[in-house]
């Protein structure tokens, strides 16, 4: 078994650059979370301490994944997929709710959010499928039916929670991987016209209150006033940072709690308020570096499997960065998507570090895998 063939050389090829970049983002993120809890007279909130624990736990997961050859992991992709679907069903049956959405499973003292893990599971499951069904030709519609089903089950389960943000991320990952693998032009045109035509028609037949209900159902955060308020406050926070920012712990929008979801979805505006354009620029460049480093790993991977996995992970991180920052800056609608390595959240952090472990796994093994 490859699993047991432990090779010292993987240490020599340990991807310190990637880990360094990720940890740097995590560190800035934690400082930032500290700042959100630092309101005068409110005492210190413990969010940042918990975040440090999540990062530490994430590192452990990362190392565990790093040591197991990714081909072994992919061999079990369908099992992992099955377990994850089961977890989502458990959430549906026994999960508990917060903010009008049932996303969490209580395990011991922890709240596990299986939808976060699903993002990664979808990548390895699709990687397995496309690796099993290689083709030199672009994929036809009927060949994409199974991957579509693979994505459909978790998509619907997560939509039902409801968690529009995560459900959308699954779709984006799917579309990214399909495009990357190649899709026949004809099929693409059929699908896109089909979607484009059916949505407005279906929409047209809905009554006003049904539309409203559908929007609120899919995305509870999206009440026109609530989001309007979030966006305006977020833009004021970001804009008021100007070039150099108001300084650490000095963001008035943040400290006065005008910003909603400070530790999670709107964490970037806190950062931009206190560190200004210079800070924002540096952070975006850091994300850009992680993304391009991921693409490099994908390009240099030893086999197709490695390429798909690393591309999928890079796509996941990219989409989340784009959508989250775009939302905070008021150019994309508000959906609940966290900023990777930056937003507060245990399940997301562990899932992301596991993803980084896989990336490093692929990165290190390109030198040693022989077939």
């Amino acid at each position: 078994m490859i699993f047991l063939k432990f090779d010292r050389r993987i240490f020599q090829h340990f991807d310190w650059t990637l880990l360094g970049l990720v940890l740097a983002v995590c560190a800035i993120g934690t400082l930032n979370i500290y700042s959100t809890g630092f309101s005068a007279g409110e005492g210190q909130s413990s969010f940042y301490l918990k975040q440090i624990q999540w990062i530490a736990l994430g590192l452990i997961f990362m190392m565990m994944i790093f040591f197991i050859d990714y081909r072994v992991i992919i061999q079990n992709a369908y099992v992992i997929y099955g377990i994850s679907i089961m977890l989502l069903i458990f959430v549906f049956l026994f999960g508990y709710s917060s903010h009008g959405s049932q996303r969490w499973l209580g395990i011991g003292g922890f709240a596990l959010q299986p939808s976060e893990l699903m993002k990664l599971v979808i990548i390895i499951t699709l990687a397995r499928y496309f690796d099993d069904h290689r083709s030199n030709e672009p994929y036809k519609l009927q060949e994409l039916f199974v991957p579509f089903l693979i994505i459909l089950a978790p998509f619907l389960l997560i939509l039902k929670q409801p968690d529009l943000g995560t459900a959308l991320v699954l779709i984006f990952i799917f579309v990214s991987i399909v495009f990357f693998m190649g899709i026949e032009w004809k099929s693409l045109i059929i699908v896109s016209t089909g979607v484009l035509i059916s949505i407005p028609i279906a929409w047209h037949f809905l009554k006003d209150y049904q539309k409203e209900r559908l929007i609120t159902f899919l995305n509870p955060e999206n009440d026109p006033l609530g989001t309007g308020y979030h966006i305006i406050q977020s833009m004021i926070a970001v804009g008021s940072g100007e070039i150099f920012g108001k300084g650490f712990l000095k963001g008035s929008q943040t400290q006065l709690k005008f910003l909603p979801e400070q530790q999670t979805d709107f964490i970037f505006s806190v950062f931009a308020e206190e560190w200004g354009f210079v800070g924002g620029l540096i952070l975006i460049i850091m994300f850009m570096s992680i993304i391009f480093w991921g693409l490099k790993i994908a390009l240099q991977a030893r086999d197709l499997l490695g390429t798909i996995i690393s591309f999928g992970i890079t796509a996941l991180i990219s989409w989340e960065v784009f959508i989250n920052i775009g939302m905070v800056l008021g150019i994309l609608p508000v959906v609940g998507i966290p900023l990777p390595f930056f937003s507060y959240g245990g399940s997301a952090m562990i899932s992301l570090f596991t993803a980084i472990g896989l990336l490093m796994n692929v990165s290190a093994r390109r030198f040693i895998l022989q077939r």
Binding site: G239, I284, F322, G326
Partner: protein, 615 residues
């Protein structure tokens, strides 16, 4: 970096490198858009946003919904809404708001108005968070503040709806009152309430709060330095609450309230056909309008410390020994169980001896030979001591439970009490001692451990009157939407059956008629010309029998040791329509005090019916 032979043995499509170039460029473009947008917000519009963040010019305002109306069975509006003008203050050092309160006080002084806000605004009050300085101010103050708005930065008037209880005291025991959401309410409900929300705190307002309350709206506005609105950025209209239509008849309710004026006690009027509550009053009452904008502390203290408990609805939470009104239950049990016939006679010499204890009849000289009819009409205690001893406490309890005693009636109001029907088992469990025969004797005349609420008493007589169906009493007839569409109807709900033979009912009907209409009857004071009223008096002793006797003899009874006066009745004899129970605390004899009150209520009901017919 050295070229690595990536991808396996040339099987793979060769255009990956090309694809990565495209993907890389797309990512670069997207990230550049983000950077451009960031630069636009922070560099180009930075100064503007910095100013906005310092002024906190964007305000999020909850818009309070109108609570649903509450109406009587004829759609007479009992509870409405009216606007309340509140003085709001937003502390903000940057804008020099600190002096505003002082200035406001000066303005008030010139018009000799009083500034009512008693706590000083805390120095650490979260700047930017609005503070309510004064609630529900009069128009004079509103005008003063509006005209001097420019001199009073940070102070403005906010309008929100509050309750208007028309004829509040008459309906307070049933309808309850509203108030601002408390800290405890906020903690207990996860995110259901917003700060400053108005909630039902008691009565119908509380039980049906989720229907009556409606939904908050909200408004997003941009304001200038003076706190004046300059731009409305969005608005969701609040949704009014649903209307509640009660079974209460406002006129009858008023008559009931007036009949109880100056007393402490309660009265309940039920429709015997379905358990609808036509009137329910608890005296003394209170003005629910006091609670609208936070009740002043002294007023609250006064209500709380009043020994007559105006805040509790005695009709459902007051528990009293039923006294002789209980004899209906015991008589029914005795007839059904066959321990007596209507002709069974007992000799009453004024007392009954069991072992070495003597139990007295209320009539000192005794009633002589009495049969069942006479025993009920003249309320002979000795007769019932004898019958009770034959029945045993558990048989009495069995029938009492059929009459709906000893368990809540299930009315749609909070804090209903269940009363108490003692059994041997109960005593062993609760008092850890075995049942004494003497206690059965007391039980047979509704003394001892027995407790009923006025509602239970009315419901028991109502069930007897309608031939044996025990209904669940209900106050709310239906709920309608703001637009007037029926939303939810509350149909009569059967709780149980008395299962009495027609013969028993006939005999007891005759006896209860006799109580009011025969010459020796104890309830003569409830007699109504033209209407055959049936009823039973009760005088329940507050102190245990022996002690009471001693105190009575010594004429040492204090106000709170005096007997409770009870009267339970229904009318008319043929095809009864309503049942009434009246309990007056520490008021004296049931026939003398409670029966006249019941008479006024009955008379109001039948007068009202006559009027309706004429129209």
């Amino acid at each position: 970096m050295k070229e690595q032979p990536n991808l396996l043995s040339g099987q793979e499509p060769p255009d990956f490198r090309q694809k990565f170039k495209i993907i890389g460029s797309v990512f670069l473009i997207v990230l550049s858009i983000l950077l451009l947008r960031l630069g636009y917000l922070q560099i180009i519009r930075g100064t503007e946003f910095r100013q906005k963040s310092e002024n906190n010019s964007i305000r999020f305002r909850n818009l309070k919904p109108l609570r649903g109306l509450i109406m009587d069975r004829n759609r007479v509006v009992l509870v409405d809404n009216r606007p309340s003008f509140d003085v709001i203050y937003i502390p903000n050092k940057n804008k020099g708001n600190e002096l505003s309160i002082e200035k406001l006080k000066n303005f008030y002084r010139t018009k000799s108005l009083e500034f009512l806000y008693d706590q000083s605004v805390s120095k650490n009050a979260k700047s930017y968070l609005p503070v309510k300085l004064e609630k529900n101010v009069d128009m004079e103050k509103v005008a003063l503040i509006e005209t001097n708005a420019l001199d009073l930065p940070g102070i403005y008037i906010e309008v929100s709806p509050i309750r208007l209880y028309l004829d509040g005291e008459m309906l307070a025991p049933v309808i309850g009152y509203t108030g601002e959401v408390s800290k405890k309410d906020m903690e207990n409900s996860t995110g259901k309430y917003a700060y400053g929300d108005i909630l039902g705190k008691h009565g119908i307002e509380k039980i049906f709060d989720s229907y009556i309350r409606g939904h908050n709206g909200a408004e997003l506005v941009e304001v200038n330095v003076y706190g004046k609105e300059i731009k409305n950025l969005g608005r969701i209209d609040p949704a009014s609450g649903y209307n509640i239509i009660l079974n209460i008849d406002a006129d009858l309710q008023k008559a009931t309230g007036e009949a109880l004026a100056g007393r402490s006690g309660a009265a309940v009027v039920l429709d015997v056909h379905d358990g609808s509550v036509l009137a329910m009053f608890s005296a003394p009452s209170f003005d629910p309008n006091l609670f609208n904008s936070g009740i002043p502390y002294e007023e609250w203290e006064k209500l709380q410390n009043n020994p007559l408990c105006p805040l509790s609805n005695k009709a459902i939470s007051g528990q009293y020994p039923p006294g002789s009104t209980y004899k209906l239950v015991v008589a029914a049990a005795a007839l059904e169980e066959g321990v007596i016939t209507p002709d069974t006679k007992v000799f009453c010499n004024g007392s009954f001896t069991l072992g070495n204890r003597t139990y007295r009849c209320w009539k000192k000289g005794g009633h002589g030979w009495v049969d069942l009819h006479k025993a009920i009409v003249e309320s002979c205690d000795v007769y019932f001591y004898t019958v009770g001893k034959m029945l045993g406490v558990d048989k009495i309890a069995e029938y009492a439970k059929r009459f709906g005693l000893g368990g809540i009636a299930g009315i749609d109001l909070p804090n209903e009490k269940s009363g108490l029907v003692p059994t041997k088992e109960w005593k062993l469990k609760r008092k850890k001692s075995s049942w004494q025969m003497g206690e059965t004797i007391s039980t047979a005349i509704g003394q001892g451990f027995n407790l009923v609420t006025p509602l239970q008493l009315a419901n028991a007589y109502s069930a007897f009157a309608n031939g044996g169906t025990l209904w669940r009493p209900h106050l709310v007839k239906y709920i309608e939407t703001t637009g007037g569409k029926l939303y939810k109807e509350f149909l009569p709900e059967k709780k149980g059956e008395l299962k009495l033979s027609p013969k028993t009912i006939e005999i007891l009907n005759g006896a209860l008629w006799g109580v009011v209409n025969e010459s020796g009857g104890t309830g003569k004071n409830a007699k109504l010309s033209g209407i055959d009223v049936c009823g039973k008096t009760g005088t329940s002793q507050v102190l245990g029998l022996p002690e009471n006797e001693i105190a009575r003899r010594a004429k040492r009874l204090t106000a709170f040791q005096k007997d409770h006066a009870l009267f339970a009745c229904y009318a008319p004899l043929k095809n009864p329509e309503i049942a009434v129970a009246v309990i007056l605390e520490n008021a004296g004899g049931g026939g003398a005090v409670a029966a006249p009150v019941a008479r006024r209520i009955l008379s109001a009901y039948f007068e009202g019916k006559k009027k309706d017919k004429k129209q």
